[in-house]
């Protein structure tokens, strides 16, 4: 057994359970079952936990809370849905206020059946979760160790869901600066991102472009790149050529892989993908000192600013092809 299997720390959240499963979860800590002999600690803090136990079906109010807790768990993490309600919605599945099982909101790794789930079943579920935890940990180290083998490839529409997920993780730090609801990158839907593969979106307009956008454009004018490590997309960027200018947009790298040259390499690959372009342009938020510094290092210089919304001011940066 690895170190992960020997020290699973839990956080337990009651989504909208009848408390039957909750009492059984707590029963696991009692002298009769004593899960602490397996090293289990019931922490009340998502940042200390490895395993997320959810009981009860998800309703409209607990949906956001579950997502929030899930994001606060440090990687690697495992989600265990305890009881039929958490697994599928159970007898509440058709209720007007029920969003269904936990897997409708966050990815679930282990399902524990029962109404209420018996303590033995819950302990068994946790033990199975340990295997998942270990596997995820191995994946994490494998990813970290094979960074030099990153592949830079053209992304296709099939990659859209993964890129969207990546984009939202990567822009989390920006959202902390400007607030959750003021960044277009955080709000993008899957349909909008899929459309970005075929047509030039509004956000790809170069600075001062008044005219209508040319729709549809040729495939040579749109380049969508992804950085892949071990089959996982860890970075992406898109470029749109309008006239002589190429607009680089939505450069995103997974936070695990920051400061390791992935973003720099993506920008270089994208510039190389537009041999006819004479000028490259990007914009970023004025407060995002990290990305401003990043692009300055790549040879971009600020030339204009516009107020996007009350919270966000875009800084436009450009670079001529040497």
């Amino acid at each position: 057994m690895s170190r992960f299997a020997k020290s699973p720390w839990l956080i337990h959240y009651d989504a909208s359970s009848c408390n039957g499963c909750d009492i059984e979860v707590l029963a696991c800590l009692t002298p009769k079952f004593d899960v602490e002999r397996l090293g289990v600690v019931n922490t009340g803090n998502p940042k200390h936990a490895d395993i997320f136990l959810v009981t009860g079906a998800v309703n409209e109010q607990s949906r956001e809370v579950i997502r929030n807790i899930y994001h606060q768990l440090p990687e690697p993490k495992v989600v265990v849905a305890v009881g039929v309600c958490a697994s599928s919605g159970g007898i509440f599945a058709e209720c007007y206020n029920i969003a269904g099982g936990v897997d409708g909101v966050i990815p679930v790794d282990v399902y524990v059946p029962g109404c209420a789930a018996r303590p033995e079943a819950i302990i068994d579920g946790v033990v199975q979760a340990l295997d998942v935890l270990e596997r995820k940990q191995k994946e994490m180290t494998a990813l970290a160790n094979s960074l030099d083998k990153a592949l830079f490839q053209r992304a296709t529409k099939a990659d859209a869901p993964e890129i969207l997920a990546l984009q939202k993780i990567a822009y989390q730090s920006e959202a902390e600066i400007y607030g959750e609801d003021s960044l277009p990158a955080q709000q993008q839907t899957l349909a909008e991102l899929e459309a970005d593969f075929e047509s030039v979106p509004d956000m790809a307009k170069p600075f001062g472009w008044d005219g209508p956008l040319p729709v549809p454009v040729g495939p040579a004018q749109i380049v969508f790149l992804k950085a892949v490590v071990n089959g996982k997309i860890i970075g992406s960027v898109r470029g749109y050529q309008l006239g002589d200018t190429v607009c680089l947009r939505r450069l995103s790298v997974h936070p695990y892989f920051w400061r390791r040259g992935i973003g720099r390499q993506l920008v270089r690959e994208l510039e190389a993908a537009f041999p006819a372009a004479k000028r490259f342009e990007i914009f970023t938020g004025r407060e995002s000192s990290r990305s401003l510094g990043h692009f300055r290092k790549l040879g971009y210089q600020e030339f204009a600013t516009t107020q996007f919304n009350p919270k966000v001011t875009w800084v436009y940066m450009q670079k001529d092809r040497a």
Binding site: F4, K6, E36, G44, N45, Q72, P74
Partner: protein
């Protein structure tokens, strides 16, 4: 043994010993609650796991404070085991704790804030007693140096029984044990989420754990200092004190911070200050240089002279009162 050897042994052995003590603590606690409890090595498994986890931060800088918390805790124990000045040890200990508090403040989260504030209150509660302990040891041995105190021939406990009890009281706070586990608790009380450690995860949390191991070994070594004249007794008493801490932890519920602060200061004044007052009254008359004091006779001297001196002025005053 030279100071450097002792320092080296402390640096290497303290985390191992501290981790084992923590595992033993959890085991005994479980047995007291009629559970089986985790393996003795559980704290090591926990720390090894935490080391591999992702480190989620609110601000990156919060981790530097935790690094310095660990560094200064190790430094504190290092000074102690190298036989340095006890006052310097106390100030280094305070500095380490302040870094911990600053780290928690840096991670601006309400739970972390409450934990940090409570940690500060706890520091206010134990700090005077810890200082008085050092002063008491100085008054007996005429030196603040741990090296001299440990080499002092007499059992300090006989001269400093009140200080020792007061020190036990502060130990309960320093060990974060139950009546005083205000800032963060190792048990499943969750009303403050995790208090001062709420916003730390992964490697930082592992560092906090390791710092506690170092700190606990250093504190138990301080208990040993009270019995340094008889090393075997010292070790037995350190272990006994540790077991007593676990016992108290399991018997008592948590106090409110007001009660914790007031009781700690009351203990400081009555036991700590009282003991030192008696010592100073007694040591005011016989001005024998401490180096000359013969090793076995010192405790006997303390035993015999203190009650007399304390008792003598009393009859005189009472008689005058009666005349009036």
């Amino acid at each position: 043994m030279s100071p450097w050897t002792r320092l080296l042994i402390y640096l290497v052995a303290a985390p191992i010993l501290g981790g084992l003590l923590a595992g033993w603590d959890r085991r005994i606690t479980a047995r007291m609650q009629s559970r089986q409890g985790p393996p003795i090595l559980q704290p090591f498994y926990d720390v090894l796991k935490l080391w591999k986890k992702e480190n989620v931060v609110v601000r990156r800088s919060q981790n530097y404070y935790i690094f310095f918390f660990l560094l200064f805790t190790v430094f504190t124990g290092g000074l102690f085991f190298a036989g340095a000045d006890l006052l310097l040890v106390i100030f280094a200990l305070t500095l380490a704790a302040i870094f911990f508090v600053l780290g928690a403040y840096k991670a601006s989260s309400p739970y972390s804030f409450v934990g940090a504030e409570r940690e500060l209150i706890q520091m206010m509660a134990y700090e005077p007693m810890v200082l008085l302990t050092a002063i008491g040891m100085y008054m007996v041995t005429k030196s603040f140096h741990v090296h001299d105190i440990a080499g002092h021939g007499s059992l300090l406990i006989f001269a400093l029984p009140g200080v020792f009890l007061g020190f036990l009281y502060t130990l309960e706070i320093k060990f974060r044990k139950s009546p005083f586990d205000l800032s963060c608790s190792h048990h499943a009380h969750q009303e403050l989420v995790r208090g001062i450690t709420t916003e730390f995860s992964g490697r930082s949390l592992a560092m906090i754990e390791i710092a506690h191991w170092y700190e606990n070994v250093f504190l138990l070594a301080w208990v040993f200092l009270f019995f340094a004249a008889m090393p075997a007794l010292g070790i037995v008493m350190s272990v006994a004190v540790f077991l007593f801490m676990i016992f108290v932890d399991n018997v008592f519920a948590r106090l409110k911070w007001q009660a914790a602060l007031k009781s700690a200061w009351a203990v400081t004044v009555v036991l700590g200050f009282g003991n030192i007052l008696v010592l100073s009254l007694w040591s005011g008359k016989p001005a024998a240089p401490p180096a000359v004091v013969d090793a076995p006779s010192a405790p006997v001297m303390v035993e015999t002279t203190t009650p007399k001196l304390a008792a003598q002025p009393l009859p005189a005053t009472t008689t005058t009162d009666r005349r009036n």
